[in-house]
């Protein structure tokens, strides 16, 4: 049975970011006994209480042979002295080394975070620039619209000119046709009139006119001779 009504998170502090680690651990005296023990005995026995308690406990264990002194005791004393000497001498060096490692890790993480922030900021700048460029598109479209209008106007004018030329050609044709017709009528009429006139000259009239012309020529030649 799943306890669906049970609260999953009992405290408020499970969310990110995690609370930072405490700086120092619990206080421990002589590396083995927590401070709480000393504080617990302080009201009743003062400062020396826990040490007296420790001495009494040690003597009790030794005298009652609860702690047996044998070869292992000697070994334990040697090992403990070596360990304590080592910790006292190199403890701070090791601590500094560990701190340096930690610093490097933290610095690397911080560098990554700053890197990410910088890249995002540059991305924001680029984005703003792109937006500014997009505003310029309106000018581009205006220019293009003008181009298209110009093309349309030119085309319209060309077609207008074509229409005018075609209409003029047709009208010229009509005019030429009328002129030709009148010309032909005139020519035909002149020819007909000449032909009828020529036909109307009878042979008699022809002889009379020729005799008249000869007389006129003789008269003229006489006057001419006289003039010369």
């Amino acid at each position: 049975v799943l306890h669906a009504t049970r609260q999953l998170h009992t405290t408020q502090q499970r969310l990110a970011p995690l609370p930072p680690l405490p700086e120092k651990g619990g206080e421990v005296r002589h590396g083995l006994i927590p401070e709480e023990f000393f504080q617990f005995l302080y009201p009743k026995t003062g400062v020396t209480g826990p040490y007296v308690f420790g001495t009494g406990l040690l003597l009790y264990l030794l005298s009652k042979e609860i702690y047996v002194v044998n070869h292992e005791t000697v070994a334990a004393i040697c090992i403990l002295s070596v360990i304590i000497y080592g910790v006292k001498k190199y403890g701070s060096a090791v601590a500094d080394f560990a701190d340096k490692l930690n610093e490097e890790k933290v610095a690397a993480a911080l560098a990554v975070k700053n890197e990410a922030i910088n890249s995002l900021e540059t991305a924001i700048e680029e984005e703003k620039k792109e937006q500014w460029r997009a505003e310029g598109c309106s000018y581009l479209f205006d220019a293009k619209r003008n181009n298209v209008a110009m093309l349309l106007e030119t085309n319209y004018r060309e077609r207008l000119l074509t229409v005018y030329n075609e209409v003029k050609k047709r009208l010229d044709y009509q005019v030429a046709m009328q002129n030709l017709k009148r010309q032909k009528e005139q020519d035909h009429m002149i020819q007909w009139v000449e032909k009828s006139v020529v036909q109307s000259i009878t042979p008699q009239q022809q002889k009379e006119s020729i005799a008249k012309c000869i007389l006129d020529l003789k008269a003229l030649s006489k006057s001419a001779q006289a003039a010369v």
């Binding site: 700086e23 619990g26 421990v28 590396g31 083995l32 042979e65 609860i66 047996v68 044998n70």
Partner: protein, 84 residues
């Protein structure tokens, strides 16, 4: 209840039987108790920024005492004491 919610250090000596009754002695309960104890020790002495020798040395000392207690019978036998 409020008695089991306090840490063990805050329980008064007279209330200890009552606290023992409220304790959960099943396997899961025991494991949960061990887990809680270890996590509280870990977060107090080991999981800090600038720890010292205290965190592990207490564990080692506890291990020494425990193993001494387990081997006491064997150590205190006369045959063992004489042989070394």
């Amino acid at each position: 209840g409020p008695l089991s919610a306090q840490p063990l250090m805050d329980v008064k000596l007279g209330e200890l039987p009552a606290w023992l009754i409220t304790c959960n002695f099943s396997l899961q309960g025991m494991l949960g108790g061990v887990q809680k104890a270890w996590s509280s020790y870990y977060n107090k002495y080991i999981n800090v920024k600038r720890g010292g020798p205290a965190g592990i040395s207490m564990l080692l000392a506890g291990y020494c005492l425990l193993s001494y207690g387990w081997n006491y019978q064997h150590i205190s036998k006369i045959s063992f004491l004489v042989s070394v």
